[in-house]
Symmetry: C2
């Protein structure tokens, strides 16, 4: 079974170089612009009611992967799926960003951490009931070198 995905837009960010991108969206106050292709614009209706959204996107500059990786925040090898490392069997990125404003098919967002020109695959509303879990444990990340 194979799935074919086509970008529904493009994410513009200040980061043109992999070495510059912040580690994850919550650590970034960087502003970005999500340009949804006009043919999908109607699907953005009601999105402005949400303060935060998930962006799903392609890690388009990654190729290949290792099952053990050294995360940017750590100095030990970790299982790939226990990290947010970009080079993955299915290189899909996931970030929560703050939605500042929608103007038609253009979303102004804050907290981007992806490269400029990243292909957008999907947008989902961030819904606390679904997406917030408290009482969490978070393994190596909790013990990382800060």
């Amino acid at each position: 079974m194979e799935f074919h995905l086509q970008p529904i837009g493009i994410i513009h960010s200040p980061f043109t170089d992999k070495t510059q991108t912040p580690i994850q969206a919550s650590r970034s106050q960087a502003k970005g612009v999500v340009e949804v292709y006009p043919e999908y614009a109607e699907g953005l209706q009601d999105l402005e009611g949400f303060s935060h959204i998930f962006l799903l996107y392609a890690f388009h500059e990654s190729s290949g992967y290792s099952l053990l990786v050294k995360p940017f925040l750590d100095d030990q090898l970790r299982g790939l799926f226990a990290t947010r490392y970009p080079a993955r069997p299915n290189p899909i990125g996931l970030s929560v960003v703050k939605l500042i404003k929608r103007q038609g098919n253009i979303l102004k967002v804050e907290g981007v951490d992806m490269l400029d020109g990243t292909p957008l695959l999907d947008i989902k509303p961030y819904v606390p009931d679904f997406d917030i879990r408290t009482d969490t444990r978070y393994g190596w990340y909790a013990a990382r070198n800060k």
Copy 2:
């Protein structure tokens, strides 16, 4: 540009019928089993340190989409991207589940909301620093018929 994805595993759940699936994972205490194909098992190392994980998967039973949809929890048409509706241009599903136990390539999880046999695309650790946003507004969902 087109991206090709191949499942890295399969999600087993109690839900064999679309009409039975819970609305979202947080409302479900249903137990499930994530079977990661053995060739990816090494990448699961360290995952057991995390209490919660994101599952990214294919909405394999959805085909086609509308840009305006009536969400399961609402009675008005909403922009597709302001909903978690399964039929989407890129039909990728996203759920946070609780990781109960890992045994090699098998993950026992709680809070599944996807169909039995769902193709798994990726696993990411749920990291509060990245994934929890407070002070949220959540549009139509806040005003829905409960």
